[in-house]
């Protein structure tokens, strides 16, 4: 059995860990509020963008000549996966959920005999994927310097994706991120952004026709690259809200567990203290009796 001194030390150490997890929870809660706010504020932009694209693409008459970002390159051989994770750990299952989702998708692609290329955004995803898929990772981007998800960063990723697409390095692009539902639930998502899945965007389909200036094709070919950046930005916002939410609940759990541990250790400490006192008393009494 551990000595009294050891127990005392352990209690102190668990208590200080608890303090840290508690502080992390508070920080995550404050950051979560901000991240959630900006995720909500960012929604109108991507929704409007979707709507315009929907209206445009339904107006396009010959699908053959549609921009490649919309119709695809005609092949289905090389898949590019953009796996978006966080740069920091200690956030529960946040990163592993995305990785799990991504890995099952990778397995599916491998089964179908297609080629795979990976871009990781965020260092945690890179750490977890490089062991099994190191040779497939073509780029790793991390935004450790920027405090919040911002559009500028998203545009960088978007430009890179588009460049690689125009160089015909891949045919299909899918992004992986966590969608923020609430603090306890984040849903890992796989969203195909190239070619754009127009059928999935069915919102208020309007009957009235638009006037276009310049013509549809030109607008579309300008809009689609922007849409990719926008989708990536949306994923980044959802991700940062999810990360903070996930961290908050993980740290909440950790704090509670530490509390339970302190309780248990205190009981053990008191018991062994009592046992030591009793033992000493018995020694004294039996010593007196033997006289």
């Amino acid at each position: 059995m551990a000595s009294l001194d050891d127990l005392k030390k352990r209690i102190a150490s668990v208590k200080s860990t608890q303090k840290i997890t508690k502080a992390m929870k508070m920080v995550a809660a404050a950051k979560l509020r901000r991240a959630q706010e900006s995720a909500e504020k960012g929604r109108p932009y991507s929704e409007k963008m979707n709507n315009i694209i929907l209206n445009l693409s339904s107006g396009i008459s010959d699908k053959e000549n549609a921009p490649k970002l919309l119709s695809g390159s005609g092949n289905d051989k090389v898949h590019l996966c953009v796996v978006m994770t966080s740069d920091r750990g200690l956030c529960g299952g946040f990163n592993s959920n995305i990785i799990k989702k991504a890995k099952s998708y990778f397995a599916k692609i491998a089964e179908e005999g297609k080629d795979l290329k990976i871009i990781t955004v965020g260092s945690k995803g890179n750490d977890q994927l490089k062991r099994a898929y190191g040779d497939k990772i073509i780029a790793n981007i991390s935004f450790k310097e920027s405090k919040h998800a911002n559009y500028f960063d998203a545009e960088k990723v978007g430009k890179m994706v588009i460049e690689k697409f125009s160089a015909e390095e891949f045919d299909v692009c899918t992004i992986f991120y966590n969608q923020f539902k609430n603090v306890i639930t984040q849903i890992p998502q796989a969203q195909q952004i190239i070619p754009l899945n127009v059928e999935n965007l069915e919102e208020d389909k309007s009957e009235d026709s638009y006037e276009f200036e310049p013509d549809e094709d030109e607008i579309l070919s300008n809009l689609l690259p922007k849409n990719i950046s926008t989708q990536i930005f949306k994923a980044m916002l959802e991700n940062s809200a999810s990360e903070q939410g996930s961290r908050m609940s993980a740290m909440d759990n950790a704090t509670r567990n530490a509390g339970e541990m302190v309780d248990k250790l205190t009981i053990e400490y008191n018991r062994s203290r009592q046992a030591a006192i009793t033992k000493e008393l018995i020694e004294i009494i039996s010593g007196a009796e033997s006289l």
Binding site: M49, I52, Y151, Y210, E211, F212, I219, K226
Partner: protein, 130 residues
């Protein structure tokens, strides 16, 4: 009958401006300036660098945009742009700075004709407000 319609300007980070009492908006559309009044036909167009002027009942406001998409439908005008600022909020230093950055860009040899055209346009507009 009232003569006003709604405008919403959004950038990726937030909804930048939302007004319900707009009488006229002048946009720097890709093929020339375009004034929008109530009951305009549904239209989708691009923006080039320039000034958006919003005339509403509460007065007149001017914004500088670098790019964007406009959609007008059912008396709702939506402007999607990635870079916008209110002319009231900027000082000369910032504008000078922007001009300098853009000029550096135009001097690069790799720049495409269209990008150069847009950058020149931007410099022109920035000079005019300076």
């Amino acid at each position: 009958m009232s003569e006003d319609f709604k405008i919403e300007i959004v950038n990726p980070e937030k909804s930048f401006l939302s007004r319900e009492d707009v009488i006229e908006v002048v946009l720097p559309a890709f093929e020339g300036e375009m004034g929008i009044l109530k009951d305009h036909i549904s239209i989708i167009s691009f923006l080039k660098p320039g000034i958006i002027t919003v005339y509403s009942k509460s007065g007149e406001e001017k914004f500088f945009v670098e790019d964007g998409i406009v959609e007008f439908k059912n008396n709702n005008l939506s402007v999607l742009t990635s870079s916008i600022f209110n002319l009231k909020d900027v000082n000369k230093d910032k504008i000078q700075n922007l001009i300098k950055i853009t000029e550096d860009e135009t001097n690069k040899s790799s720049i495409s004709d269209q990008a150069k055209f847009l950058a020149d346009q931007k410099i022109q507009v920035l000079r005019s407000i300076n």
